[in-house]
């Protein structure tokens, strides 16, 4: 099972996207655990993550997070994020994990 962690300022707007990603994963029979957290809990949230995706509004944190976290980190595509496109975000996560 893959663990996908989404981070944004307060974990609220990414939590809207989480349900869509879970739905997309279910329809593809892809075994993944998807959760959203605030940036302030980055270390704890990403402890066992396979990939961390951050909201585009906090993309200025990317370099800092890459330094602090051991798993791959990427910024969610703006359009996918705005339209809450779960399938596209899941595909991005899979790509970042090298699948």
């Amino acid at each position: 099972m893959k663990k996908i962690v989404l981070l944004c300022s307060a974990g609220m707007s990414t939590s809207l996207l989480v349900t869509r990603i879970r739905e997309a994963a279910r329809s593809q029979a892809y075994d993944a655990q998807v959760d959203a957290y605030p940036l302030s809990q980055a270390e704890k949230a990403a402890a066992h993550a396979d990939v961390v995706l951050i909201g585009p509004q906090v993309r200025f944190q990317l370099d800092d997070l890459k330094k602090r976290l051991s798993c791959p980190v990427d910024v969610i595509d703006m359009m996918a994020y705005g339209t809450m496109d779960g399938a596209k975000t899941l595909a991005q996560a899979q790509k970042v994990m090298g699948e």
């Binding site: 944004c8 300022s9 307060a10 609220m12 302030s40 906090v58 993309r59 200025f60 994020y81 809450m84």
Partner: protein, 434 residues
């Protein structure tokens, strides 16, 4: 050709804002600054609980609207306010635990050790012992002590880090249990930190909180003015217009400590029944005006649009937008880097900031005395946070001003999308056309 031209214009704007974003990012990612932010987030539950109990207690007084709303509560007002006094009122003391903890976490130091060190350092730094009858001065425990907390926390963890990284510690020989070893490891750095603070506070009798109150507080208080507020809102909107979290990047690292102090001072004044000193508070006037003006009109315009995907997106964005969760609109519509909407977005932010601050400064509405969760819908946040229904005027007026300014820009934007939609439809059904 035409779109290319527009893209370069947006690029030019983007470049300018990236120039601003660079140093801001560097600043907010400095370990000490980031630790202060995370530490303050850590005390938010206490501020919110303190706020809620203050609101409940005031329902038993005539502080809101001049009538006692829940007479049953009247005899318990002071008792209920105890919860406020010990949570929100002791903001400093809690931050003295959470800021060192966040700092330690970021620097890879032991969190528990640094929390204890941070709290003790705060006491050493602000208190000149316990008086003979067993009392201590609690001034530093409130938000007034917040800057002292920031200084003592950062110094404590910083010195601790220097000592441990350079191995200036007592190391136990092999065979001594690890827990015993850790206790001794801390001895030298702890002693060094405490002695420094004790020399400053007790021997030299330098009271940092007193010093700040005398010299810095007038400056801090003066920062609550219309110019700073408009600057805050304008830069934040500028960053959001590039799809960057303006509040997280600019407002919180720079203004949050001030806003929290102002909120607590208003809250204490409200509990004491005196007049409120501040207009600008944490999650106050900004949250009942900014998003109702900048995002709500767009949601309405989307819902009423002839462009099919905008209509669907508008309905999808509505519930989150009412709670001021605006990312779906910012990135979905999108507002971010949208050449049609960039200009009105920033212009509205500035105009509404001026009018909102002015409205409160001229006394048309009671000031915010508590802070509530930021995602509280503005039409609830206003009345609950100020106790004044006239705060709804701000919400409605912000929305209408936003709508009026967006309208001409929206028409241009929509026209460009309608053209595209028609072209797409013609492409999709070429048989029907011919």
């Amino acid at each position: 050709m035409h779109t290319e031209e527009k893209r370069t214009l947006v690029d030019a704007v983007m470049d300018k804002i990236t120039l601003l974003a660079g140093p801001l990012t560097t600043f907010s990612n400095l370990p000490a600054i980031a630790a202060i932010q995370d530490g303050l987030i850590g005390v938010m539950p206490l501020i919110l609980i303190g706020s809620i109990f203050l609101v409940i207690s005031l329902l038993g007084t005539d502080a809101i609207g001049g009538v006692i709303l829940i007479p049953f509560l009247a005899p318990f007002v002071e008792k209920i306010q105890v919860i406020n006094a010990l949570t929100m009122g002791f903001l400093g003391i809690y931050a003295a635990v959470t800021i060192p903890a966040s700092y330690a976490e970021r620097q890879g130091l032991d969190v528990k050790t640094c929390s204890v060190l941070g709290l003790a350092t705060f006491f050493m730094f602000t208190l000149d012992g316990v008086s003979k009858d067993g009392t201590i001065a609690t001034t530093a425990f409130s938000a007034t002590g917040l800057f002292a907390v920031i200084v003592s926390s950062v110094i404590a963890v910083w010195i601790f880090q220097i000592f441990t990284k350079r191995n200036i510690t007592i190391t136990m020989p092999d065979g001594v249990p690890a827990a015993v070893g850790t206790a001794f490891t801390s001895l030298i750095p702890f002693t060094a930190v405490f002695v420094i603070c004790w020399v400053i506070r007790t021997l030299l009798d330098f009271d940092f909180v007193q010093f700040l109150t005398t010299f810095l507080t007038p400056l801090v208080g003066a920062a609550d003015n219309i110019g700073m507020y408009v600057l805050d809102r304008g830069v934040s909107a500028l960053l959001w217009s590039c799809g960057l979290h303006g509040d997280n990047m600019w407002t919180v690292p720079i203004f949050a400590p001030f806003e929290l102090i102002w909120t607590q001072e208003n809250s204490a004044a409200m509990a004491a029944g005196s007049s409120l000193p501040h207009i600008w508070t944490y999650s106050g006037i900004d949250r009942i005006s900014t998003w109702p003006a900048l995002v709500w009109p767009l949601v309405l315009l989307m819902i009423r649009s002839k462009v099919k995907y905008l209509k669907a997106l508008g309905w999808a964005c509505l519930p989150a937008a009412l709670c001021t969760i605006v990312e779906p609109v910012i990135f979905g519509l999108p507002v971010a880097l949208n050449p049609f909407l960039l200009i009105p977005f920033v212009v509205i932010a500035v105009i509404v900031a001026i009018l909102t601050y002015g409205f409160f400064a001229l006394g048309f509405c009671a000031k915010f005395f508590v802070t509530l969760p930021w995602a509280t819908p503005p039409f609830l946040l206003g009345p609950l946070g100020t106790g004044d229904l006239r705060s709804l005027i701000v919400v409605v007026a912000s929305f209408l001003i936003g709508l009026a300014i967006y309208l001409p820009f929206w028409r241009m934007f929509e026209k460009s999308l309608l053209k595209k939609q028609e072209a797409d439809e013609a492409d999709a059904s070429p048989g029907a056309e011919s």
